[in-house]
Amino acid sequence: MKVLFLTSRNKTDTKFVKLLEIRRRLKPELTDIEIIERVRDGDQYAFSILVERYQDIVAKTVYGMLGHVAEADDVGQEVFIRFYKSMTEFRGEASLSTYLTRIAINLSLNEIKRRKRNDLFFFYKDRDDDKKESDVIDEVDQAEDYENSELVTAALDTLDARSRSIVVLRMIQGYSTKETAEMLNIPLGTVLSRLARSQEKMKVVLKRMMTESISDY
C-alpha cells in the first residue's frame, strides 16, 4: 500500500516537474496557433500553456453557468479535453477563447440537463437550479458578509439555463449581443428580450451590493 502510494506520488511529482520544465522551455509569448502546431507535432505538454492561458475564461463561464458546485471543475477539465480531441478541426477562424467558451457553454447546458434528469429520477427538490427570486433575495439578505462572486452567483441562480448562458456571454465575458446570438445559435431578438428580462430580475438581487457601493463613495 505504502509502495503504491509512493509510486503514485512520485508519478505526480514527475509530471509536475515535467510541466515546469516545459513552461520554462516554451516561450510564453508564443501565439495560440503556434502552440497548437506544436501539440499537433506531438509535443503534448505544450498544451499546458493553453490550459493555463484560458483556464480563467473557462472558469468564469462554467461557474457562471453551474454555480459553485463540485461538477464545475470536472466540466472545466472536460472543456479542455474536448478541445484537445477536436484540435485538428480548429482552423483559427474564431479566436480560441470564443471556441473554448462555446464548448464550455454547451457542456454546462448538458450538465444542467443531466442534473435535471437525475433530480427527476431521484425526486430531489433542494437543488439550487432556477431558484425563486424571493428565496435568493432572502438568502442574500440573511447573509452577513458576501463577496461579489457570491452575489453574482446568487443573481444568476434566479435565471433559467438559457437566460443564464446569454448573461454569461454578454455581461460576464463581454461579447456583443450579435456575437452572443451567433454563439448560441438563437435569433438576435430572443437575446435582446431575454437579456432585458434577466437584467431586471438580477437587479433586485444585485441592488444591495450596488447601493452599498454607491454609499461607499
Binding site: L19, D56, Y63, K203
Partner: protein
Amino acid sequence: MKKDINIDPEVQKVMSDYAQTFNPFFVTRVMGKIEHLNDQIYASGIYDLFFRRVVVSGVFAIAAMLILTVVLNGGFSVDALLGIGDLEMENAIAMSITDF
C-alpha cells in the same frame, strides 16, 4: 437593424468584476487526463491492429480451406468438408474394428 439593449452600468460593473478560478493544480489534472487519454488511444490502436491481423489471417485460412475442398472434392458436401469424402464404408468399418 435591431437596437441593442441598454445595460445598466452598475449591473455591468458588478458582472464584469465576477472572477472565478478552478481548484489548485487544475493544469496538472487536465494534463494527467490527456496523458491517460493518449495511453488509451495507443492501447486501443495496438489492440485494433492485432485484432485486424488475426481476423484477416483467419478469413484467408478459411477461404483457402474451402477452395481446396472444392478443388479436391468438387463440392461442399458435408463429407467433403469433414474430409471423409473418399472414405469407403468398408474401410470405415475396418478402421473402427482394428485395434491399433
